[in-house]
Symmetry: C2
Subunit: 230 residues, 2 copies
């Protein structure tokens, strides 16, 4: 028979997984809404964000209750600690989906600028990165989590390329400056979603192994970081 504590912890994990599915959905709606110029899909993000925000508070409250009533130790404590952090990242990913949705709304209502050549590639990379990060949590799989850390450089490179190409384009199309800035901000929003996925992966590794890889991975990629300045 499952102990009361195990039941509560399992329910907490399940709650986080449901919340994560809304976050994935919000990112999907925001990016698809832009690609398909669908205001309706962009609107869907707001309803999802409300649910994400409610979960954000109720996951924290469940974590606090578990810590207070059950006084977990070792592995269980590490898992709850990771969930507290993952919860924060998920909520901010929801905020970024809303930012994308708002920016996309402006973008698709103005005259088209130029084909969104690299943005759909970045959408795909970021959605995959989010998917693998969440999968690593659901499956308690360290390898998947480490895979996420490798993907961050690709996302950063795509963002830098979109910045550069858009700036180049605007030099000869100054009248499209609002549109160009909107694209750049969307690329920035996506990069932030990638960063949150990295945070989640780092927290999963910590929960599973007790190893804090956070600023180690930062030190290793410092050269890349120094190239990107936004």
């Amino acid at each position: 028979m499952e102990r009361h504590f195990d039941t509560s912890l399992r329910e907490l994990k399940e709650q986080l997984v449901v919340m994560a599915s809304w976050v994935e959905r919000a990112i999907e709606e925001a990016t698809q809404g832009l690609q398909l110029s669908s205001l309706e899909r962009l609107e869907n993000v707001y309803e999802l964000e409300k649910k994400i925000n409610q979960s954000h508070m109720s996951v924290d409250s469940a974590c606090l209750k578990l810590l207070a009533l059950q006084q977990p130790l070792a592995t269980d404590l590490r898992l709850i600690f990771a969930i507290i952090k993952i919860n924060t990242d998920l909520e901010r990913m929801g905020d970024q989906a809303v930012n994308i949705s708002r920016n996309a709304r402006e973008y698709i209502q103005a005259p088209p600028m130029k084909p969104l050549i690299d943005l759909p590639i970045m959408f795909q990379e970021v959605r995959q990165m989010v998917g693998v990060a969440l999968d690593s949590f659901v499956k308690s799989n360290e390898n998947l989590a480490r895979d996420v850390l490798q993907r961050d450089d690709r996302v950063d490179a795509l963002k830098n390329k979109i910045f550069k190409d858009t700036l180049e384009h605007l030099k000869t199309h100054a009248d499209q400056i609002e549109q160009g800035l909107t694209l750049i901000l969307i690329a920035r929003n996506l990069e932030r979603i990638g960063d949150h996925s990295t945070n989640i992966a780092e927290d999963v590794i910590f929960a599973l192994t007790g190893e804090d890889v956070r600023h180690a991975s930062q030190a290793a990629t410092i050269k890349n970081v120094l190239k990107s300045s936004s």
Copy 2:
């Protein structure tokens, strides 16, 4: 005589306060470096960020140890819970100071664009906001924390004004587009620092009162949020 637990908790708070002073200093160096075109001051941010990152890990580790060994209850548990979250926000504020420093480096090495009219005002607003948020933690003062929540709209409005004015300027100065984008990104970095200050204030209120004001304040300012899309 102070209990062992109280000593540990006091030391943890002190550690967070030292970390917070580095964060304030990093923001100061980044913004002053830009205003005074001082590469040296911009460089100082990197050393500070290293210290912030080390503290980030050691504060988390101390929180986990306290939770594991002391199994705190009620008020103490809420305080530790808040510290875990504030620690994350402080580290990200350090990241944003680094972003400002990098963007500022590009900005001051290129030909000057136009006077930074509103940016110094935004620097001041954000530095004050950070100061009041940290003060509310140090002094366990709910009123100060609530004051921070009021300041967020002003910072957002300043960011929107900088976006708008810069875009307007660029329409007739397309050759300055890189410089303009850099300014916009700095305004965005500052806005994010303001958001993290809001998070800290919300965590202080939770630690002191048990009230979770996070998405309540979001709901109240939803109208303003909807106007701003970046």
